[in-house]
Symmetry: C2
Subunit: 206 residues, 2 copies
Amino acid sequence: MEVAVELVLFTVRDDRLQVLLTPRPERPALPGGLVGPQEAVEEAARRVLREQTGFGDAYIEQLYTFGDPGRDPARRTISVAYFALLRSDSAGLPSGATWRFVKSLPSLPFDHDAIIRTALARLRAKLSYSTVGFQLLPAAFTLTELQRLYEVILARRIDKRNFRKKLLTMGLLKPVPGRRASGPHRPAQLYAFRTRRLRFLDGQLV
Amino acid sequence: MEVAVELVLFTVRDDRLQVLLTPRPERPALPGGLVGPQEAVEEAARRVLREQTGFGDAYIEQLYTFGDPGRDPARRTISVAYFALLRSDSAGLPSGATWRFVKSLPSLPFDHDAIIRTALARLRAKLSYSTVGFQLLPAAFTLTELQRLYEVILARRIDKRNFRKKLLTMGLLKPVPGRRASGPHRPAQLYAFRTRRLRFLDGQLV
DNA sequence: TCAAAAGTGTTAAACGTACACCCATGA
DNA sequence: TCATGGGTGTACGTTTAACACTTTTGA
């Protein structure tokens, strides 16, 4: 029996949640590949990330294992899906791979539609009770940028004052020197996360 | 490469959280087995439940996939762990299998210690925001029995009045005819879950 | 009659949510 | 000077958490 990994790599650019697809003979699909005989499953996921997306330092976490016979008509494959988040300031795109808006995805081969739905549900749920969303932002960012990130992923508006109050009270952020000027208005203070590592929150963030 | 399933089957009896171990040549371990060539992974988990535990109607859900090379020194196996809950009134125990207190487990082979830790964390987390704990009780039960269940799993005391208020307000339970007399004191009203199916709750239950 | 668990409300604090205006800037 | 997003506080309703006594029963 073959064991594969699939990668659902999300990023937020231009105020849209996007997912990376790689070219396949038939039609684009999620990046993926077989797990090597001496390779840990998570290692394989990181290798696929490196080789097929060209991005090295994404956040990665195991999502779910899809193992119905018939999910790949050609051969029996069990696939461990991983969920990955890429900082919006990551540069480059490997040849052939494309970012697609999650809102307007084409129909994907195998069970990749279901995998993406599962990943999106995980991302949305985890935004509320953990700092996982922080993985999508660069080292310094404005509070509005952070709020837009949440709004884009959750597909709903968030109150600016309540959002800021919550984040600052929780002590997740620290102001860093510098401001971002982006048009004919007051420049915004830059902030950074107090720690880059994933934290689970006491209450609900959003 | 071989793909296996492992089963972490919990039950609560005698006010203790217990997990089922099956005999192995070396020492007891989690029930498990290989996934057949034409078998869905979840099907394999249900088959292991049937064949190795003798219990047919447990709640089952995928937990995590453990795939480090070296987790089984004998051969390369990737294992999809499942988490299962058995009603405390289920009768019978298959030959050789034993219930062990989760609090005082012996050291287990392979990475089974880690699998049980992961399962316990999932169970505790899910108790708070879903009705998954209901799978551990028979069709009719008293409010005290339900509360004891939560206390045993979470390993902490819960306020009786607040617990009852929350459950009744949420409309998860309905009283059913009958009372349970269990000693020299007032008998307790019996209740049942309004629906057996898993529900995710708006707020926190405990 | 006694011991034991069943059953039942109130209060204070914390939290969530809704809401509107002035500020600083570049064009 | 004007258009734009940055930045800030309050008040109300809901939820959580702490807390103690009476009731019913079997022994």
